[in-house]
Structures are given as C-alpha cells and as structure tokens.
C-alpha cells in the first residue's frame, strides 16, 4: 500500500493551506532579510541559510490571503537550481490528505511549482 503523501498545513488569516512535504527542503525561523530595492512584492528580499542565498517570497500575498497568528517562519523550497523561501506567519503542522478538517475548516492544496511559475 503506498505511503500517503504528507502535507504541511499552514493556517493563514482566512484559510488553511496545505503544501506537499516533497516540495519543501526545510522549515526554519525567519532570518534577517536583505531588502531588494526596485523588486516588486511578493519578493521580500534575500536571506541566507548555511551560506546558500535564498530569495524570499511572501506566501500570504502569493495566495491572496493575509498573515495568520504566531511567529514568522521560512519555508525553504526544494529546487535543484533556484533557491526560494516562503515567509509565513501562522500555525504550521504536519498532516495527511485525509486527516479531515471539520474543526479547523477545509484544507486547500497549494501547487507550489504552478504558483511560482
């Protein structure tokens, strides 16, 4: 029986969103950002993680939602050539596709490759 695909659920202001774990390389605390003047939102700036420069995007803005509650985190995306991170403020938890969501509301899947294309 195949292993169910695991998801990272993110609660933003209006909606719960789910990102596939396979699309992510890691989650860390939000580091300091180097601003990029003249680069438009949702690009927030650059950060570095273990020497690797990551271009940080604003996940709520990409999803047309607003930040949730809690500390900011940086979701590092798994990509072989370009290195992106997503800044998110909101509750994060691991879940499975059929874990339900009656109490927490529906869970919307995010197609990260399509979102970033």
């Amino acid at each position: 029986m195949p292993t169910p695909e695991r998801l990272l659920a993110v609660r933003l202001a209006r909606q719960r969103w789910a990102l596939r774990l396979v699309d992510l390389a890691g989650v860390c605390e939000m580091p300091a950002l180097r601003a990029l003047p003249r680069v438009a939102h949702p690009v927030l700036g650059l950060a570095h993680r273990h020497g690797r420069i990551v271009t940080v995007l604003d996940l709520p803005a990409l999803l047309r939602d607003d930040p949730g509650e809690g500390p900011e985190s940086l979701l590092l995306l798994a990509s072989p050539r370009t290195h992106f991170g997503l800044r998110v403020r909101g509750d994060l938890r691991l879940t499975l596709p059929d874990a339900g969501g009656d109490e927490d509301g529906p869970l919307l899947r995010v197609d990260l490759p399509a979102l970033l294309a």
């Binding site: 003249r38 680069v39 690009v43 420069i53 294309a117």
Partner: protein
C-alpha cells in the same frame, strides 16, 4: 567566422568513442533489451550519425544512419531484437573502426563502409548472405584433413565456406577457424552447429567485427571527460587545505584556499560550448537538406565554457530554435535571390558573457516575423479581440509565439513542425532560471536569445555601501574611484557614475545566482560575506541603461 571542423576532431573522436562504448554494451544485451534500452541505442546511433554528418564524414554517417534505421525497425516491432543484434554489432564494429581511423588522422573509410551499410540495408529488406566467423574446437582425434573436410562439407549445407584456416593442434586441442557466407541467422547456426561431425565446441560471430566480450561493460552515461591538469590542480588544492589544518594561519588564508579549491572543483564541471555545438550544426544542416535550403550555421563563442548539466539541458531547446530558423526563417535559394539576399542563408549562434549571465543567441537572416500576421493569428485563435490585437506592441505580439498552441504556420513543417513548440522552449529555459527574448524584422530575420545565470563563481569585486545597503560591482567595470573635498566617494564606470556612502574595498566574493525576476531589477547575483551580511552584485549594464 565559419566553423573550422578540424578544431573539433578530438572532441568528435572522444564523443564518438563514448557513444560507441555505450551502444556496444547495450547491443550485446539487445535480445533481452526493453524499450528504454532500444530507445537509448537509437539515440546513440542518431548522435553518431549527426556528429559524423557535422564533421563531413559521409560514409560514417551513412553506416550510422543504417544502424539507426535498423533500430527504428526494432523499436516499431518490425524486426526481432535477437535477429537485429548481430547486424547492429556488425555496424558498431564498422563505426568503431572508422572512428579509430579518424583518430589516427586517416580517412575514415577504408572501403569497408559500403559493405557495412549495404549489409544493414539488405537486412532490413530481407535476409541476405553475410559472413560469419566460426571458431571451432574439434573432438579429440578429429584434427586430420579428412575430418576437417567432412566438417566443411557439412557446413556447406548452411552456406558457402569462404575460407578456412589450417587447423592448429595445441595441448591436445584442435582448433579450426572458418568463414562462412550464410543467410541463416545466428540462432539457426547455433542450433545447427552442435550436430556437425567432430565439433566439441564453437563460437560464432559476424566477421570483421571487433565483437565485444561477454563481460558486462560500463556504459559511458554519466561519465565526464576531465582534463588531467584540472584534476591535478583539484587534488593539489585539497592537499594544501589539509596541510593548512595543521598550521596556525589566518582565517583569510584558509578562505583563500577554500575559494581556490572551489574554483578548481567548479572547473571540472565546465565544458566548452563546442562540445554540443557540432550537434546543432548537424541538425541545422540536416534540416536544410530536408527542405532544399542552403544554410550556413556559424558558431561564435564556442570556446566559452559552461557547466555540462546546463549544456545538456539547453541543447534540446536550442536544437528546436535552430530547426525553426531553417524551417520557417530561411527562404528557398530562389526566394532569397529575388529578395536580393545571398543564396545561402545564415544561422548564427553566439554564446557570450553578459554581466553575471551567459547569453546564447540564435540569429537568422531569413524572412523574419510579420507582426501583422501574428496579430491576425491571435484574433483567429481567440487570444485577443481585434481591438486588443491592434493595441498590442510589436514586442507583445512577438511574445505570442511562446504561448502554448500558438503558431502562424499553415501546416506543420517537415522539420520543425513536429517537435516541441516555442512554449516548450520558453518553459525549458525558464526552468533553468533563464529568460527568453525575441526580436524580428520582416524580411531581415529573427533573433532568439536565451539568458542564463552563471552558476556559483568567485569573482573580484569592489564592495561599497549606499543607503540601500551593502553592494558590489565587478572590479573590472570600475575604471576609477573619485573622492571629493567632503570625503564623498563616486565610482566611475565607463558610462555612468555611482555616488556611494562608503567604499569598503576590493574583495573576491563568491557570487550566487538569483532568479530572473530579481536579475531584471539590475542585480546580477549576490554573495554572503564572512560576517553573514549579503552583498548585492549590481549589473553594470543595468546601471548604464
């Protein structure tokens, strides 16, 4: 500058050997091979053909083409794998011999090529006699002339004995070599030979073939050619770093060693554009021949080196753009003459550094693209209303050809209409972190440009601070630094002056690439300094513009 083929001889030989080694390893397993292995064999034959054609070795290309046809028949189920294997090994042996003649500086064809190609062509048309080499070990006491004659007579039932070497007797074992012309397949021979008089054991293979051994061979896939000097430099740097660990030296010295080690390791991943350019030349020539166009493919910047993975990834979209240029851009010789152009069309590929990026441009001198025709197509396809199409700039209209399904061709062309479209080209380029740019003038030609960020690379830079933070410019772009009477500094570039708050100094920084959206704002890369601060590398060209 036209292509000087002799410059590519070593490369041609090296790559052909790789393809042949991989193909022969696969061909020995052909009877049991799956579809993927057959497809891979087909690609090897195709590459051998293309490379030979590009180098002007028509006979080599002909044999490779025949092998390709045989594999195509296998792929389509018209030819049994087991039956095709000997012929394929035969052809690969011929190709290997011809490539080795080229390597020795001789003409590739010593007269055997005709036979190789003919055997394959005839094989596809039906079974025809071919020569088999048979090495027999005879039973004890059967080394006399009468016994050998009896064996040869029996062999006559399977074909025509061309020649037989005198039997040799050594340590009580009698050996006999026979060349037999026979239309029988190897399987038929293998079934029949054990029943012939006096035969203890035997080995059968097509004649004139450097037949591979039964030992499994390592396929060349994933193997890179590395200059010995580069490997030596890498090893030396690693050793220096190891020795450094035992010495109390400064962090700066260690950083220099690490930077050198990285530079040497990076060096191993680089190959010249020429290593793939010959395939593009071959594809362009083949397209021209198929369409009756006279085309010259010109390569510029072939010495520039890129990461092998990037070269491999960019090859397919590049091939498509070149085929497109020949198919849809270059006119027939008659059309060109009436338009006052030379009979021979020209497609120019140019690879060059553009700031921290690498730009690859394909430019043809063909008919170009007519914005009016593209606007009509946009309306016809429902992409834009009449009024919207009329308001679009020529650049916006041109960009339409990278939309999925958009084409102004009335029918698929015999060369480029079957492959990937420009939308796939754009997706492939963007997937590599690059951008695609287009320009065209009706009657004058089309210009397609891929722009890619270079990989991580160390480069000398001048670091400075402004109100926006820490930044850097490539050291070579700064002609001088001026300081006025109030201590304010200005960096002088060729065409622009940049006032700064503080000049931090010269430094070798390790530049990392940035996504296209960030590069478009004039940042060609970024570097993390020792204290963790990020410096933005500015693109001098963007400052100028």
């Amino acid at each position: 500058m036209s292509l000087d083929l002799s410059r590519y001889l070593d490369l041609y030989v090296a790559e052909s050997r790789e393809h042949l080694a991989a193909a022969r390893a696969l061909a020995t397993q052909l009877p049991q091979a799956g579809e993927a292995a057959v497809a891979e064999l087909y690609r090897h034959a195709h590459s051998l053909k293309g490379m030979a054609a590009a180098m002007g070795y028509a006979r080599v290309a002909e044999v490779a083409h025949a092998a390709e046809d045989l594999l195509d028949a296998v792929r389509r189920g018209r030819e049994e794998r087991a039956h095709a294997a000997p012929e394929l090994l035969d052809a690969l042996g011929c190709l290997a011999a011809m490539v080795e003649r080229v390597a020795r500086g001789e003409a590739p064809d010593d007269g055997a090529a005709d036979g190789c190609a003919r055997r394959l062509r005839e094989r596809l048309a039906g079974p025809l006699p071919r020569t088999w080499r048979m090495d027999f070990v005879l039973e004890e006491g059967r080394c006399d002339a009468r016994s050998v004659a009896a064996l040869l007579t029996a062999l006559g039932g399977l074909g025509v004995v061309r020649t037989a070497a005198a039997p040799t007797l050594s340590d009580g074992t009698c050996r006999l070599m026979v060349l037999l012309d026979s239309a029988a397949s190897r399987e038929v021979l293998l079934a029949a030979l054990p029943h012939l008089p006096g035969v203890r054991s035997f080995h059968v293979r097509p004649d004139a073939v450097d037949a591979p051994s039964d030992r499994p061979r390592r396929a060349a896939q994933g193997v890179a050619r590395v200059p010995a000097a580069a490997l030596e430099a890498l090893a030396q740097s690693a050793q220096d770093l190891l020795l450094e660990e035992s010495r109390p030296r400064s962090a700066a010295a260690r950083r220099r060693l690490v930077a050198r080690l990285h530079a040497h390791a990076t060096e191993l991943r680089l190959e010249p554009f020429d290593s793939v350019a010959h395939r593009v030349v071959a594809a362009g020539r083949q397209a021209g021949e198929a369409l009756g166009r006279e085309v010259q493919i010109v390569i510029e910047g072939g010495d520039l080196r890129l990461e092998r993975s990037l070269l491999d990834a960019v090859l397919e979209p590049l091939l498509h753009v070149v085929r497109n240029a020949v198919d849809h851009g270059i006119e027939s010789p008659e059309e060109r003459r009436s338009a006052g152009k030379p009979r021979e069309g020209r497609v120019r590929l140019r690879l060059e550094s553009a700031g921290a990026d690498t730009r690859l441009t394909v430019q043809d001198d063909g008919r170009g693209l007519d914005p009016g025709t593209l606007r009509e197509a946009a309306v016809r396809l429902g992409i834009a209303a009449d009024s919207e199409a009329a308001r679009m700039t020529d650049g916006e209209v041109l960009a339409l050809i990278t939309r999925p399904g958009f084409t102004t061709a009335l029918a698929a062309g015999p060369v480029s209409g079957r492959g990937v479209g420009m939308d796939v080209v754009r997706t492939a380029v963007e997937g590599l972190g690059g951008t695609l740019e287009l320009a065209a003038r009706p009657g004058q030609g089309t210009w397609v440009s891929f722009r890619f960020p270079r990989g991580i690379a160390a480069r000398p830079a001048l670091l400075f601070r402004t109100a926006e933070g820490l930044a850097a410019l490539p050291l070579e772009s700064v002609t001088r630094v001026e300081v006025d009477g109030h201590g304010r500094s200005t960096l002088c570039l060729l065409e622009v002056r940049v006032p700064v708050d503080e000049v931090v100094g010269r430094r070798e920084i390790v530049v990392q690439p940035l996504p296209a959206a960030v590069r478009a704002a004039g940042y060609s890369g970024a570097a993390v300094l020792e204290d963790g601060e990020i410096a933005l590398l500015l693109d001098p060209a963007a400052l100028t513009s």
